[in-house]
Structure formats: structure tokens, C-alpha cells
Amino acid sequence: MDLKEWFASRRQKREAMQVKQPLTTEEYCALWTQCFQCRELLYTRDLRNNFHVCPKCQYHFRIGAEERIEQICDAGSFAELFSNLESADPLGFVDTDTYPNRMMEATRKSGLKEAVVTGTCLIEGTACALAVMDFGHFGGSMGSVVGEKTTRLIEKALELSLPLVIVSSSGGARMQEGIFSLMQMAKTSSALHSLHKAGLLYISVLTEPTFGGVTASFAMLGDFIIAEPGARIGFAGRRVIEQTIRQKLPNEFQTAEHLLKHGQVDMVVERSRLKEVLNRLMSFHARPPAGQPHNGPRGRQAAETVSRR
């Protein structure tokens, strides 16, 4: 065996080895995702291209703020605002770990500084103010920063006369901020009163899961409320209710479809249609400022305001 042959055989051996080497769990999980609902094994790239919705059973996987923004905003139109706000530790809270440690852990997991991302964007050409919550960061819990960023965004919508869209996903209050967490419910709801009085449109989108203080404040105050299929939405958690009433709850209880039946949401919209529906609702309500002829949707004019900023 000459040197050339030796190299060739070594390469062959190595390649054979590489092919045979099983995927690590991580690599495997990155490639394949099992549907939580129908248990089908889905190719992750296909799933991603399908809005993270199972093509077989339409199960809507939970998605993060970044991906949501990608899905509903016109490419490159999202301009983030108020990203300079970070949680403090006003109570010096310690349970089995300190609050600052838990925050670092949340950021490591989600890559986000807080559980809501806020900014302005275009949705099929219509300008709006957009807040997207991320359940992957601290369970989407509402502390001072979530409340403050949301409130500032409402004020920005008022200032620029923009419609407002908030995509919620939250387990409820940030207990580590105690009473301050609770007060964010009042702060955001009070700001929404001003938006309401100003005649600006607010569309609330409820996604898996939305509970507690977020539901009982801004999430339920939309002029229209849209829910994603299968999303679980409520005030009290299922377990708390079952313990209180001492009986099992039916499976469909607190799902988007159940809420629709009980008159609590306007529509259940599949993720692939969300962008279009948001645009249609906003376009329908666009009107010129008082005293001016109706010569184009307000959204367009506001779009110019945003792009000039």
C-alpha cells in the first residue's frame, strides 16, 4: 500500500465512521421535533417554515417573541423601543435562589432581557405599535419592566396615533416583585383608558398560555381579541380551580375554542392567517384625522411618520 492508497483508505474509514456515528441527542432534537399533540415526528425545518404549526394536526407550537415578530411584521420593519429597561430587585427577593440569579437564568434560556419585546412595525404595509410577550423568558411573567415597556408602548401609540397590537403569553405575575408586579395591571389598564378615549384601535392576541394578571389587565381590554387555536387562556390556573371546586375540569375548558363559545374572544385565527387578519382589522378602522377628507387609511399616514423617525 503506497502512501496515496493509505490516505484514501484512511479517508474512507473516517467517512464511514462519520456516517455511522449516531446523532447526539441535541443534534437529533434540532433536526426533528415531535408534535406534542399527535406525536408525529416532524422535520424541524419544515415545521419552522409552517409557522411552527404541525402540518398533520394543526397543533400550534409555542414560539418566542423573535419568531413571532418575524412572522407578522413586514421584513425589516420592526424598530425596537425601550430595550434599555431592565428589572431591578426592589424587594431583595430570595426564595430557593435570589431574584437576580433567576433573572440571569431566564436571560440565558431566552436570549432576551425581559419577557416582552416592544416597538413599531409595518404589518402588510400598515404601521402599528407592537408588543410581543415571550413565555420562554421567566414564564412571560409581568414585573415592573413588562408593565413599563407595555405602558410606554401604549403612550407611543397615542403620540403617533398608531393602532396597537399586543401578543400576550404569560403565566401571570412576577412574584419576586411582590406588590409592584400587581400594580403593573393598574398601570397598563389605566394607559389603555387614554388610548381608548383617543379612539385608537387596540387588538389583543392571546397565545398559549395567557393567564393571571396579564389576562386580567391589558390582554382582555382589546377592541378585538384574537386567540390562537388551542391556546389555553384564563384568569385562574386549572389546578387552582380544580382544587377549589373539587372536581376535574373538562379538557376543552379554558381553550381558545371554549372562550370563543363563551363570547370572550372575537375569533380564533390560525397562525398562518394572523398577519392578514391583523392588517384587515387595522385597515378597516383606519380613518383620517378629524377635519380632513377621507383620502386614505390612517395607517398609511402613520407609516410615513414611523419611517421618517
Binding site: E177, K187, A216, F218, F235, G237, T244
Partner: protein, 328 residues
């Protein structure tokens, strides 16, 4: 006569040493009555002194969980007890006008220290039957909608609003969810924040989460000395964060739920002293002091215009929160 005074009052766990001492005094007093003896009399008077000393030091060093126990004391005055004492002629009004009347939320027209007010409060219920009817003070959406109806009534007639808060929280039931508990609370937060009349809240017992805040978005927030106010019950917090039902005291401590702590955090505007041991030791006195404090705030607020009152309330809640803002 502490021994006799304490008789009717159900002691709390941390009050046990006080209870034992009081029983001792009682026994000795009985003995003294049967056979007079100057030595025994001296002993008894010394025990009385000890009792008073112990009582003062006990109540001066309460832990958050002790305040919680007093706030939940079964004999603590409830909303109706305050209304009765403020205005024996108070008029109760009922119903949300949409199909229900929730006994856990009491609505009243009453005169407080000469001021006509719309008063709203959560009611826990005293007897077992009352408690069940009131869901132990946990309102249904219908209760919040009744409150909202009365907020709008107050706005229409320019009447000040007083709210009394004593609730473990909004009721977590199946019908409550289906009737949209979350929306009922959210709507109250939004509408209450924008009233153009003076609004004052008094936390008399438990301020439990969103169910309390739904009648708590007010110009002034007052708390009775032993009342508590928190985002979740200490039991709930302990079970979620510590995953243990035994860490309730730790959770109560960590969340800063007491009136004095919340005053330090500038969330609460005034802490109202209670009779030694708690409002249940002297409900008349507690109601009088609380009523005067509320009336004082209503008179101050009465000097503001409608726009100023709304602005005052909205900016109060606009400031709530604690965060770090780096240069942008």
C-alpha cells in the same frame, strides 16, 4: 380586666402565651373571691402587670405571618360592620343588571362623617351560611360588574367613592371563568383609573391580588395596621416558589405584604392604627378611626377638579414599579 375582656375573643396561635397567662389570672381571681388573701391579691396584680407587658411586646414584634393571621381573624370586622358603624341608615343596592347579584361585593350609599359617598366592599361572611354565600369573600365577575355599575353611578352624580378591601382574591371557579373573571377585573382597572370623583380605598383585612386591585385603583390607598396586600397569597407563593406548603412564613416575609412595609415602598399612603391586638378587640373604635381617616382624605381630594383627580390617580399608578433604565 384583661382576663375578662379577652374571653370572647378567639386567640391566634402566636397569642397562646398571652392566653395561658390570662387563664392563670382568671383561676387565681376565682380563688381570691372564694377566700380573700392579701398575698394572693398582690400576686394577681403582678400577673396583671406581666400580662400587659407581654401583650405590648408581643404586638410590637409581630412577624408578617402574624399580621396575616390577624388580618384573617374570624372575628375581624368586615365591610358590613364598618358600614353599620359609619351610617346605621346606609342603603344597600344590588345587582349587576346583567343577571346576577354577588353577595361577596356589597354596594352602599352612605354618609361618612357628613359626606355622602358610594361605598363598595368585599364581604367575607360571618356565619357558615354567609361565608358560603359570599364564597368566603371571593367575588365572581358579577360582583366586579356590580362595582363597575356603581363607579359609573358615582361619576354621573359627582359622588366620592370609598372601597373596602378584604378578599383572598377573585373566585377561581368554573362559572367565574366562563363569565370572564379576567375581563371583569380588567375593565374595573381601566374605568376606575379614569373617574373624575375622589376615590379612596381602605384595606381592612386581606388585599388578595387582582381581585383586590379591581376596586383598588384609587387616589389614596389606606391600610389598617394589621391588614396585608399582596400579588399572590403567601400560601400560593410558597407552593410555587418553594414547592412547599411549609414555607408560608418565608413567603409572607419575602413578598413584603404588611401595611408598614408597603408604606415604606410608597405603595400605600397611610397606615391606620388598630386597637391593641387588632380591630376585632374593639370594632367601634377601629371603625371610628378608619372612618375619620377616610373622610379626611375625601375632604382633601374634594379640593381638586375632576381632571386633577383623574390625573392624580393615573399618575400615581403610572409611577408604580421599579426598574433600571440604562442610557439609550
Amino acid at each position: 380586666m384583661p382576663a375578662q375582656l379577652e374571653k370572647k375573643i378567639v386567640p391566634l396561635e402566636f397569642e397562646q402565651p398571652l392566653m395561658l397567662l390570662s387563664q392563670q389570672i382568671e383561676a387565681l381571681e376565682k380563688q381570691l373571691a372564694d377566700n380573700p388573701n392579701p398575698d394572693l391579691e398582690a400576686d394577681i396584680s403582678q400577673l396583671h402587670e406581666q400580662y400587659n407587658h407581654l401583650r405590648r411586646s408581643l404586638y410590637a414584634n409581630l412577624r408578617p405571618i402574624d399580621h396575616l393571621a390577624i388580618a384573617r381573624h374570624p372575628q375581624r370586622p368586615y365591610t358590613r360592620d364598618y358600614f353599620d358603624r359609619w351610617d346605621p341608615q346606609w342603603i344597600e343596592v344590588h345587582g349587576d343588571r346583567q343577571g346576577a347579584d354577588d353577595p361577596a361585593m356589597v354596594a352602599a350609599l352612605l354618609t361618612l362623617d357628613g359626606i355622602g359617598v358610594v361605598a363598595i366592599g368585599t364581604q367575607k361572611g360571618r356565619t357558615l351560611r354567609d361565608k358560603q354565600q359570599c364564597n368566603f369573600g371571593m367575588p365572581q365577575p358579577e360582583g366586579y360588574r356590580k362595582a363597575l355599575r356603581l363607579f359609573h353611578h358615582a361619576e354621573k352624580f359627582g359622588l366620592p367613592v370609598v372601597t373596602l378591601i378584604d378578599t383572598p382574591g377573585a373566585y377561581p371557579g368554573m362559572a367565574a371563568e366562563e363569565h370572564n373573571q379576567a375581563q371583569a377585573i380588567a375593565m374595573n382597572l381601566r374605568e376606575l383609573s379614569a373617574l373624575s370623583v375622589p376615590v379612596v380605598a381602605l384595606v381592612t383585612g386581606e388585599g388578595g391580588s387582582g381581585g383586590a386591585l379591581a376596586i383598588g385603583v384609587t387616589n389614596r390607598i389606606l391600610m389598617l395596621e394589621h391588614s396585608v396586600y399582596s400579588v399572590i397569597s403567601p400560601e400560593g407563593c410558597a407552593s410555587i416558589l418553594w414547592r412547599s406548603g411549609e414555607k408560608v412564613a418565608e413567603a409572607a416575609q419575602a413578598m413584603k405584604i404588611t401595611a408598614r412595609e408597603l408604606f415604606s415602598l410608597k405603595v400605600v399612603d397611610e397606615v391606620i392604627d388598630e386597637p391593641l391586638g387588632g380591630a376585632h378587640h374593639d370594632a367601634d373604635f377601629a371603625a371610628r378611626v378608619a372612618g375619620q381617616a377616610i373622610a379626611g382624605h375625601l375632604r382633601d381630594l374634594g379640593k381638586m377638579s375632576g381632571d386633577q383627580l383623574r390625573e392624580d390617580r393615573q399618575s400615581k399608578f403610572r409611577r408604580m414599579g421599579s426598574f433600571i433604565e440604562s442610557g439609550s
